[in-house]
Symmetry: C2
Subunit: 220 residues, 2 copies
DNA sequence: GACGCTACCGACCGATCGTGCTATTTTCTG
DNA sequence: CAGAAAATAGCACGATCGGTCGGTAGCGTC
């Protein structure tokens, strides 16, 4: 597969833009073929089904994001700096990388939350992989003492994901000019309270207890 | 519009379930008519267009949620207790209220982030109203001294919305059994750091600076 | 020059989409 | 019971959906 930069790539390129703009459901064989400038059947000959088009498109978008999000951050020192860099590149990566619509995977998680299909499985796979990656970064920051030792990396990533989604909505749906710095502020706040062991006030004590219980019940 | 119950309500009822399960785009005149048990044209006579069906469905879902989310919380004392109660009722309200699929408005925000249409406007309207409501609750909690005076209610609600979205994804897409307590923990953490005036350490100063930079660099 | 292979096209399928127009049935009113 | 009015159904339209099929133009190979 050295440099198969042929038609298939042209299809995926166009499809990526289309998916970003119109969502996964908006990627239609007819419309996509039109965008690429070939007949529907000509395009279809490259794939076994529409599902396959969508799945490859999702994979492609994931690969497409990597050099924009992960790679530049990998030059930063391990631990918190690298985590910060990844997050900075992550938030709003899609429009910044030439995808006019938002992150296709984020949109897909809402579009396919009930529909059972291989496309859904693909989204879940990508999401899980990204989740694991973020958690490993977080865990490394804990190991290096950048984040406090008793931090629950799972919870950290969970809340981080919330900030990302809020940013997505704030930017793409509400079109708020505040979204960037709101997200940055939220993230910094998340980091800040993950730095050192905070004074365990009564409220926090209760939280910890709840968290522990939950953690235990799922430990298996 | 006194008590025009009957068919229109039956349509909206069925439509609400359908919308929750299949998303806004899944609400199709044919399918909906089938669900209601009448002909497509018979159903269509009650509305001027499909857009109107969707818009009324969104409004209906908003009204539908109110007694499950807001009203029981209004019995709680003003300020933080009431805010807590609303949030507790808010997270996961849809499945808890008989909507098998998730919150239709949340899903709609991702589905219609690029499509310009009156449906989009309706979602934006509902979202804005909810946002205002949450902010007023937060502000009241500040006024009563339950939350710290220098808290930015806007940012509070912004982050709260992130937790809600993360919960939606965690529950509906990932189907994680953890979602409920993860969300509760995140919310408690958000409240906890909004209680008292945190020491404005050097880190926080740096945060502000970065946020400013980020905003500027992307402003173009 | 006949062959097979790949890439692509145009036409077409049955289904469903939103949406009109015209009955027909049901219900309300006098 | 008549007749108006409202509710519902029947039907057809153009468009689009995912997908199939038969065909053909270009190409390297014997």
């Amino acid at each position: 597969m050295g440099h198969a930069a042929t038609t298939r790539e042209r299809i995926l390129d166009r499809g990526l833009a289309l998916m970003s703009k119109s969502g996964l459901g908006g990627v239609t064989l007819g419309v996509l073929a039109d965008q690429v400038g070939m007949s529907k059947s000509g395009l279809f000959a490259h794939f076994r089904s529409k599902d396959e088009v969508q799945i490859e498109l999702l994979e492609y978008s994931s690969q497409y994001g990597r050099p924009h999000i992960i790679e530049p951050a990998m030059k930063k020192p391990e631990g918190l700096p690298r985590l910060r860099a990844v997050v900075r590149n992550w938030f709003g990566w899609a429009p910044r990388s030439g995808l006019p619509g938002g992150c296709p995977i984020a949109a897909g998680m809402f579009e396919y939350d009930d529909i059972e299909s291989p496309v859904r499985d693909k989204i879940a796979e990508l999401e899980a992989a990204w989740h694991v990656f973020l958690r490993s970064l977080t865990q490394r920051a804990v190991e290096l003492g950048h984040l406090r030792a008793d931090l629950d990396p799972e919870q950290f990533v969970w809340e981080l994901n919330g900030i990302y989604l809020a940013h997505h909505v704030s930017q793409r749906f509400l079109r708020s000019p505040e979204s960037d710095w709101r997200a940055a502020a939220a993230f910094d706040s998340l980091v800040e309270r993950s730095l050192h062991v905070g004074k365990p006030g009564k409220t926090q004590g209760k939280i910890k207890a709840e968290a522990k219980i939950g953690t235990k019940s799922r430990a298996g």
